[in-house]
């Protein structure tokens, strides 16, 4: 094996790890919503880019620094999620055809968001500045500082989220509502309030993921759909409602995508995602870490 091959491979794997961790955090918002109300959030694309555009707006429009812009955007996304839950989801889940109705509603909302953003911000590509400019160099392997910060940030964030769900009363109440809503009620959990919070949280996480992805790549009104579809595949691949599954699947898909992009071409990426998705659905539809349940 030539040394070039090894270097290329290592670089590809590293960038795969990076993409993978971004995909993983992208899938988290979907996982939370799927876990609590069993709906696939088809407005996810719109919500991710909204997070990115809000940050852009605070950065360039209002002149705040990056951290403040990100925090403000996440707070606004949280409120957005709350309003979405109270304003629409509450009604949708009560309908007899709630599954398809929520899919269509959220799709419509996604279009709405994409086009409103298009109106307000225009179609030109926007950039969220890279956090750091330099790069580490280990021999021939080159890692951007930015990438490292992203990976570390995602890891810390995921850890924090895990602690939230396992150690805090609020986090546990969200899990309770997701697992058995009547059981949650009889122990005194206010199901509606908890669900609203979960939505807000999912929305904020989604917005955050959008910001991170935008900082690594770019931001246009259309790019949300791609992120969303990949997010769906990751959620199913990893197992519905499991955070561990989403992380793992995200990393795997990131690596796969990096390998295909480098050794094949960009155009093979989506067919690969499709084939993997089809195989998972036919072989193990509950996903890697998911529970086999009657609903499959």
């Amino acid at each position: 094996m030539s040394s070039y091959f090894v270097i290329d491979l290592v670089n590809t794997l590293l960038s795969g790890l990076l993409i993978g961790s971004l995909y993983a955090i992208m899938a988290l918002g979907l996982t939370i919503i799927q876990g609590v109300v069993r709906i696939f959030n088809f407005a996810h694309g719109g919500m991710s880019i909204l997070g990115g555009y809000l940050t852009f707006m605070f950065l360039s429009g209002a002149g705040f620094n990056l951290i403040v812009s990100m925090i403000l955007s996440c707070l606004l996304m949280f409120v957005f999620g709350l309003i979405l839950y109270r304003g629409a989801i509450v009604f949708l889940v009560k309908k007899p055809n709630w599954e398809i109705a929520s899919v269509i509603f959220l799709l419509g909302l996604g279009i709405l968001m994409e086009n409103l953003i298009l109106q307000v911000f225009g179609a030109r590509v926007k950039e969220i500045p890279v956090f750091f400019e330099d790069a580490f160099e280990f021999g021939f392997v080159r890692i951007n500082h930015h990438d490292v910060v992203l990976i570390v940030f995602v890891m810390v964030f995921v850890l924090g989220l895990n602690l939230f769900f396992s150690r805090t009363w609020l986090g546990r109440s969200i899990r309770a509502v997701a697992q058995d809503i009547q059981g949650a009620r009889v122990v005194g959990v206010n199901a509606n309030r908890t669900l609203g919070f979960a939505f807000g949280l999912a929305s904020a996480v989604t917005g955050l993921a959008g910001i991170l992805l935008a900082s690594k790549y770019y931001l246009t009104p259309q790019v949300g759909w791609e992120w969303m579809f990949k997010g769906f595949i990751i959620v199913v691949f990893g197992g519905l409602g499991t955070i561990t599954g989403a992380i793992f699947a995200g990393l795997v898909m990131g690596l796969v995508e990096a390998l295909i992009t480098f050794y094949g071409s960009q155009s093979w990426v989506w067919p690969a995602w499709f084939v993997i998705f089809l195989v998972i659905l036919l072989v193990k539809p509950e996903g890697l870490f998911g529970r086999k349940s009657a609903s499959y």
Partner: protein
């Protein structure tokens, strides 16, 4: 039920007559083109309605099937010696095969939402497949010189051919709904165990409907590509897909005229809305949201409610008070 027959069927008949005589009133090629676009979309959305509303398969890939029909017919007519009319029929078959293989068969094993996801990603990957085989398919540029249905065809002739296809394929949809298969689906929907105990095979019925619908959609694609002379992946943009959904939801999911109504609304209404530019898509998104929340049966549901009102209004004062 007298009222029911009269005003609804009259509207349909009247509409058909107007469409048939339209070229007499205006020679504008633009209007004729608009109608042809309407015919194609009416076919696509009605067949989609059949799959979603009746067979209960949440396939989101019907626009993709249209495009597969376009490209198959275009490539066949350009590389084999066959006349375009035959190519159109063959493209219907090819579309049916691909659709059934990738979406139809998996749908038998998977829950609705997974089919929705699978089909969406199928539609999403199609432009990339076209790019991979760009030497044949022209990649993102498409194929610009697709031969017309026959040499020297005029806009008037195209108009009537498309109109004829519209009528034939919609009659096919109508026939399926009112056939034993249609009844089978209603039985499966209302009393699942009983229906299967009676020997109605859900798998067979679903596959039949899926195959026929994708065949029709493929044919519509073939017709479209020879009419416009261009095969382009632009139809695969998300905006087209969303417009098709809007047509189905606003027209009325699960109700036969819903597809036609929705197509009419968005093709003709869309032209009017084009004045507003990009707001068009925003309005579409908004309409989808509002309708699915408040009028899940679309405009057809409102029509049916209106119908009931008319019947009640007509029979008021005619029938004696009913004794409890």
């Amino acid at each position: 039920m007298q009222a029911l027959w009269n005003w609804k069927k009259m509207t349909v008949l009247g509409g058909l007559i107007i469409i048939a005589l339209m070229p007499v009133f205006t020679r504008s090629p633009y209007i004729r083109h608009l109608f042809s676009v309407f015919f194609i979309w009416a076919i696509v959305v009605s067949n989609w309605n059949l799959i979603m509303g009746y067979a209960g398969i949440w396939s989101m890939a019907n626009v993709a099937f249209l495009v597969i029909g376009c490209y198959s017919s275009a490539l066949l007519s350009m590389h084999s010696g066959l006349p375009p009319a035959i190519c159109i029929l063959l493209s219907g078959l090819i579309t049916m095969l691909i659709a059934t293989l990738f979406i139809g068969l998996p749908s038998l094993r998977l829950r609705g939402i997974y089919i929705a996801l699978l089909s969406m990603i199928f539609a999403n990957m199609l432009p990339d497949i076209l790019k991979i085989f760009r030497y044949s398919t022209g990649g993102s540029m498409g194929l610009p010189e697709v031969p017309p249905l026959y040499e020297g065809i005029t806009t008037l002739q195209s108009y009537y051919i498309n109109f004829a296809a519209f009528i034939v394929l919609l009659l096919l949809v109508y026939a399926i709904i009112h056939s034993r298969s249609g009844l089978a689906f209603m039985a499966l929907r209302d009393a699942h165990e009983m229906a299967t105990a009676l020997g109605i095979s859900e798998y067979r019925e679903k596959l039949k409907v899926f195959a026929l619908s994708s065949f029709s959609t493929g044919i519509a694609g073939g017709l479209y590509v020879h009419y416009t002379g261009i095969a382009s992946p632009d139809l695969l943009y998300i905006s087209t897909f969303l417009m098709a959904i809007a047509m189905m939801v606003v027209g009325g999911m699960g109700r036969f005229p819903g597809g036609v109504l929705g197509a009419a609304l968005f093709v003709f209404g869309g032209e009017w809305l084009r004045m507003f530019g990009l707001v068009r898509l925003t309005i579409m998104g908004g309409l989808i949201c509002i309708f699915i929340l408040f009028f899940p049966g679309g405009i057809m549901e409102l029509v049916e409610r209106l119908d009931t009102r008319i019947i009640q209004w007509r029979s008021k004062g005619l029938a004696p008070p009913v004794v409890e």
